[in-house]
């Protein structure tokens, strides 16, 4: 077996394992009891997909595919930020996201 063939096996096994992990996170996204569970799983999915795209870029030896991964990374980041921000704005307008209010909120439960 040549070295290139071994690399091919390595990359394909890596990609398929990462794809399986993506499905595991997808189930968590559907099950997740809270809102934050779902967002967390979606964020992890984006990380795993970035890894898949990077491995694919190296496997095909095309450097422009890494750009796709970079843009995917920034999209995932912006998704998380905007979803959390809008959630806080819509449902918790009374509790301002201020540090002192956070402390007060924690004290209230005592």
């Amino acid at each position: 077996m040549t070295i290139d063939g071994m690399y091919e096996i390595l990359f394909i096994v890596t990609m398929s394992l990462l794809a399986l992990i993506t499905f595991a996170y997808l189930v968590r996204t559907i099950l997740g009891p809270h809102f934050t569970d779902r967002i967390l799983a979606a964020n992890s999915i984006s990380t795993v997909i970035i890894l898949i795209i990077s491995v694919l870029a190296v496997y095909l030896k095309e450097s422009y595919i890494v750009d796709v991964a970079l843009i995917y990374a920034s999209l995932g980041f912006i998704t998380v930020i905007i979803l959390c921000k809008s959630r806080l704005q819509i449902h918790h307008r009374d509790r301002d996201d201020d540090f002192k209010n956070l402390k007060k909120g924690l004290d209230k439960h005592d």
Binding site: I3, M6, Y7, L10, T14, L17, L18, I21, A24, Y25, R28, H34, F35, T36, D37, I39, L40, A41, N43, S44, T47, V48, I50, L51, S54, V55, A57, V58, K61, S63, V66, D67, A69, L70, A73, S74, G76, F77, V80, I81, C84, K85, R87, L88, H91, H92, R95, D97, L102, K103, G105, L106, H109, D110
Partner: protein, 107 residues
């Protein structure tokens, strides 16, 4: 041949960390604890896999872009998980059932 061994070790270690994060996602019960394991995957797992790919592709344009990728992940992911944690703490009414609060400050 040495390159193959090094990159295989790095990629397999990274895969182990990523799989651990996926398993931990099911084993931990509460979101903030899950997030800790998830951040492990984001930082260590992703950068291990990507550095394995860098070792394979040597000094080229692809590896330069992959280094940029690691830097981006390390800058952006903490911000995302910080925001998520803040949302959870503001949203959850029974946070004190899950974790205790310790004060070391003067207020």
């Amino acid at each position: 041949m040495i390159k193959l061994i090094i990159s295989t070790i790095l990629i397999v270690l990274g895969l182990i960390v990523v799989i651990t994060a996926a398993v931990g996602n099911y084993r931990f019960a509460y979101v903030l604890n899950r997030m800790q394991v998830g951040s492990t995957a984001d930082t260590l797992g992703a950068s291990l896999v990507i550095s394995g790919l860098i070792v394979y592709s040597g000094f080229s344009l692809i590896s330069l872009k992959l280094v940029m990728m690691i830097v981006f992940l390390w800058v952006a992911n903490p911000v995302a998980s910080h925001f998520l944690a803040k949302t959870e703490i503001i949203e959850n009414e029974d946070i004190l059932d899950e974790c205790e609060v310790v004060r070391h400050d003067s207020i």
